[in-house]
């Protein structure tokens, strides 16, 4: 299996370097790899640095030191313009608040991802129909976001993220704004995308149930990788229980107990 994402010893500081004691370390020496076709979850409590990590991988933020290599290309060295193109062509985004344009229909929201890649007008329609079928949203393509439920919106957003066939799909708390039923449906779509169509997904969440859909989970605390769990041949239920254990450990500060 080819390595899609390789994070090498990245660090991220906030604050004024000149003055002593004013520096906050958001990420401290994080390294990991994601192989093609993997579904990786990143978990951690609030303020652990998981969003910063995702922002750096998605090229929205810059690392202070270290390298992030996506599909063989080091994104930390790219210029602004190259970054924009890279983000457009290699990455697909799914956000907690969907980020659908309220003035556009579902169809147009998905089409936008293709038109900004300057795709020909003939292939756009067939690509949209194909992805809509995968995610079961063919019926609602003509609707505006305000006519859709949260789950439907997130599936439209997912369709937009994968329609361009990116090397890596980044999902930031995708179930954060959904009720449990919609969450289930969405996560099942993710599973399907991952297993049947081989999409590589990197998902940030703090919800253990959501995380249990992944193949592998990285736990982050205070900017460092704290633990790693691999699902292997476990059932989802078993995997979920394992996650809960780690989360319990993460949440309670062991140092305090001792």
């Amino acid at each position: 299996m080819e390595t899609i994402l390789s994070v090498e010893k990245i660090e991220k500081y906030y604050g004024n370097k000149g003055k002593k004691g004013n520096i906050t370390k958001a990420m401290d020496d994080i390294s990991f790899q994601v192989k093609e076709g993997e579904f990786v979850g990143i978990m951690g409590p609030s303020g652990s640095g998981k969003t910063t990590l995702l922002n750096c991988i998605s090229t929205i933020d810059h690392v202070t030191t270290g390298k992030i290599i996506i599909n063989g290309q080091d994104v930390t060295g790219l210029k602004k313009k190259a970054l924009e193109t890279f983000r457009r062509d290699e990455l697909g985004f799914i956000f907690q608040d969907f980020n659908l344009l309220d003035t556009l229909t579902a169809y147009e929201n998905i089409a936008l991802a293709l038109t900004i890649q300057k795709r020909g007008e003939t292939e756009i329609d067939s690509m949209i129909q194909k992805v809509a079928e995968k995610l079961g949203i063919t019926e609602i393509l003509g609707n505006y976001p305000f006519q859709l439920s949260g789950g439907q919106k997130q599936r439209v957003a997912s369709a937009r993220a994968i329609v361009t066939e990116p090397s890596l799909i980044l999902a930031d708390e995708p179930t954060g704004a959904l009720d449990s039923k919609s969450s289930n449906m969405l996560l099942e779509s993710f599973e399907k995308l991952n297993q049947e169509f081989g999409s590589t997904i990197l998902m940030v969440t703090h919800d253990s149930f959501t995380a249990s859909y992944a193949n592998r989970i990285l736990f982050i605390k205070d900017g460092r990788i704290f633990n790693e769990l691999v699902r292997g041949n476990d059932t989802r239920k078993q995997f979920f229980n394992k996650i809960i254990e780690v989360v319990a450990l993460l949440g309670g500060d062991v140092g305090n107990v001792l």
């Binding site: 929205i60 313009k81 924009e84 193109t85 983000r87 457009r88 990455l91 985004f93 956000f95 980020n99 659908l100 344009l101 309220d102 003035t103 556009l104 147009e108 089409a111 936008l112 991802a113 293709l114 038109t115 900004i116 300057k118 795709r119 007008e121 003939t122 756009i124 505006y144 305000f146 937009r160």
Partner: protein, 668 residues
């Protein structure tokens, strides 16, 4: 403490305030400039004529009141936009426990600050602009102002301060009212409130679009057929049709436009055109009313400025530069009276103690009326339509005549040879051949003139085009009769003409213009009740130019105010829409849309938003101007004069808006 908050607020939100400030400053500047016109050199030259001064004052006063209403509405609109943008900030003040009264105080202080600043800036700019306006003024009035004079009009300054002071007070009261109405929860949630997306059936909108086109077409054809003649009561219907057509046009345009572009996949799927299209659709759906207002205001502006310059061209052409005499006067003969001073102008002049001692030559004449009208005389050569046309233009009057001896006196002072008329000969003095061919074919046909049973041959083969007086009607038709004519004649006018000595023109001009001004002011009514009308050539020209100048000034004044108003409305709408759409731009960035594409999308939106109402307004104006053209003559130079300031102001606002929107979108 509160004044400090206010000052900081203005500093911080200077970008938001910029368009508000720009509008106020331009408003004050234009207001001052036009009101300072009275104290300008060129106008001072003119102000010797009491008529001109009074009508200038009156029309400027009326226009100022009207304009202050327009500007007042505009300022309130702009102010509302600002308050709307700052709802959340006001909400935070309230959460912190600041009473509403204090918040109003902050707002009052802010408006005061902006008001004073823009008033000062506007007056400063106005003083500068009025200097260049004085150059325009002297060119319009065809007065040469040799020395450059710095013009400052305290009157205009006080007037501007008063009018705008009132506007500010109204705005402050308005703010007070708005703030007291707000609920805290609405203020804090203002940003979260979603805009309703109006959905409309595409088929209905298409029908509506066709309907609006039909309405406009109907209004256009009516305007072109009947002309925009204010005396025609049908004009009201034409205007109502036009306004309704415009309203429906913008109401249906966006949906129709979306349908059209969606069909064309090549455009639809290019870059983020989908987004631009929906943005426009969304905006036009909610803002069609203001687009209609903008379009109509632009139409008014273009037509106003264009026609007022056009009028200048028309009058410039008709002003007499090579008139036969330098001054003329005539007395309306009172047939009932026995008093010679009410019949003979010579006797009248004696009565009022006027002697011809100025350096000029004069010639008296008597003008008679025949019992035949021009249409009767030319009847054989006139079509029915031409007859009606002559009647409409007041050319269907009794023919007037002057005896050859009097006419030769006029020839003498003009320095021309006397005419010799036989017993059965007459001369025709007229410019009727400029209107239609009847007179020419009458002369070519060698027709005779039948006067009281006797035939007279016309001695000249082409009419003499010099009128018998300079202050007569613009259409004239006179006969010169032989001295031996013994038929019945009714004396209607007795008058005199004057030609100045070339060496002492100014002295002579002063003598006669003083005499005629005195007559205008009825100073001799006590001495003689006779009605005498006189004018020197200069007075006559000034009268025409003066009337025209008033119209041109008012046209410019109103036009500029209108265009500023509509451009401001448009700019504010764009900016407020941009802040409403911030979330969308953020989403676009997140899915990988580049800055360049976003800027392109903003440019496209601004362009369309500014150009669509302008385009319809231009079409309206072309129709409007062509239908006015039926009343007035047409001058293509006016196009340049009228389009240039429009283009400058409009594109200035366009750029300010584009930059403003870009800034709003970028800052987040």
């Amino acid at each position: 403490m509160f004044s400090k908050i206010a000052i900081n607020n203005v500093k911080r939100s200077f970008r938001d305030y910029a368009i508000y400030f720009l509008t106020l400053t331009l408003g004050v500047c234009i207001f001052y400039s036009f009101n300072s016109i009275e104290s300008q050199g060129a106008i001072q030259e003119f102000s010797k004529s009491p008529d001109f001064k009074l009508s200038m004052q009156l029309s400027l006063a009326a226009a100022s009141v009207f304009v202050s209403f327009v500007l007042g509405g505009l300022v309130i609109f702009a102010n509302n936009f600002l308050i709307k943008k700052r709802k959340k900030e006001l909400g935070i003040y309230m959460t912190l426990g600041m009473p509403k009264g204090k918040i109003s105080q902050i707002l009052i202080f802010e408006s005061l600050l902006i008001g004073v600043l823009s008033l000062a800036a506007g007056l400063g700019l106005g003083v500068l602009v009025s200097q260049s306006l004085s150059i325009v003024t002297s060119s319009i009035l065809s007065v040469n102002v040799d020395t450059f004079e710095f013009v400052f009009s305290p009157d205009a300054m006080w007037k501007s301060i008063l009018y705008f002071g009132v506007i500010f007070v109204v705005v402050m009261l308005f703010n007070q009212f708005t703030v007291s109405k707000y609920k805290l929860i609405d203020l804090l949630n203002a940003a979260k409130k979603n805009e309703n997306v109006k959905l409309k059936n595409p088929f209905t909108s298409f029908l509506l679009f066709l309907f609006s086109g039909a309405l406009l077409g109907f209004a256009y054809s009516r305007a072109l057929k009947d002309g925009l003649n204010a005396s025609n009561p049908d004009l009201v219907l034409t205007i109502v049709l036009g306004v309704a057509g415009t309203l429906f046009f913008f109401f249906s345009l966006s949906s129709f436009f979306v349908q059209l572009v969606q069909r064309n996949k090549r455009v639809y799927f290019k870059g983020i055109n989908i987004f631009v299209l929906r943005q426009l659709n969304n905006k036009i759906n909610t803002n069609f009313f203001s687009m209609t207002v903008m379009c109509l205001l632009l139409f008014l502006t273009i037509t106003l400025i264009f026609t007022s310059f056009d009028l200048k061209g028309t009058i410039d052409e008709t002003t007499v530069t090579d008139a036969p005499f330098d001054a003329s006067a005539f007395l309306f003969v009172d047939e009932e009276s026995e008093n010679p001073a009410e019949i003979e102008i010579e006797a009248y002049l004696n009565e009022i103690d006027f002697a011809f001692d100025a350096p000029a030559e004069h010639a008296f004449y008597s003008e008679y009326e025949l019992d035949m009208t021009t249409v009767e005389l030319l009847a054989a050569h006139l079509s029915g339509q031409e007859k009606l046309g002559m009647q409409a233009d007041y050319m269907d009057n009794a023919i007037t005549a002057v005896k050859a001896a009097d006419y030769n006196e006029m020839q003498r002072i003009k320095g021309q040879d006397p005419v010799q008329l036989g017993e059965d000969e007459v001369l025709i003095v007229s410019n009727f051949h400029e209107t239609n061919d009847a007179l020419t074919s009458f002369l070519d046909g060698g027709d005779k003139v039948m006067l009281q049973g006797r035939e007279y041959a016309v001695k000249n083969s082409a009419p003499i085009e010099e009128n018998l007086k300079i202050n007569g009607y613009s259409n004239f038709f006179h006969l010169i009769l032989p001295d031996s004519f013994d038929g019945e004649l009714r004396l209607i006018h007795t008058g005199f003409n004057v030609v100045y000595d070339e060496a002492a023109r100014e002295e002579a001009e002063e003598t006669f213009s003083d005499l005629f001004y005195a007559m205008d002011r009825d100073e001799f009514r006590g001495i003689s009740p006779a009605l005498v009308i006189g004018a020197t050539l200069d007075q006559e020209n000034n009268r025409a130019v003066g009337a025209m100048a008033i119209i041109v000034f008012l046209g410019l004044f109103m036009g500029l105010i209108f265009i500023i108003s509509s451009a401001t409305v448009m700019a504010l709408q764009q900016l407020s829409d941009a802040s409403d759409s911030l979330e969308r731009y953020r989403s676009l960035r997140k899915i990988g849309v580049t800055e360049k594409m976003i800027n392109g999308a903003i440019l496209k939106q601004c362009l369309i938003y500014f150009l669509v109402p302008l385009s319809l307004a231009i079409v309206h104006s072309i129709v409007g101007i062509s239908s006015i053209e039926q009343i007035m003559q047409f001058h293509y130079e006016s196009i340049l004069f009228s389009i240039l300031p429009l283009v400058l102001i409009y594109s200035g606002y366009f750029y300010a808006t584009y930059a403003g929107v870009k800034n709003i979108v970028k800052s987040n």
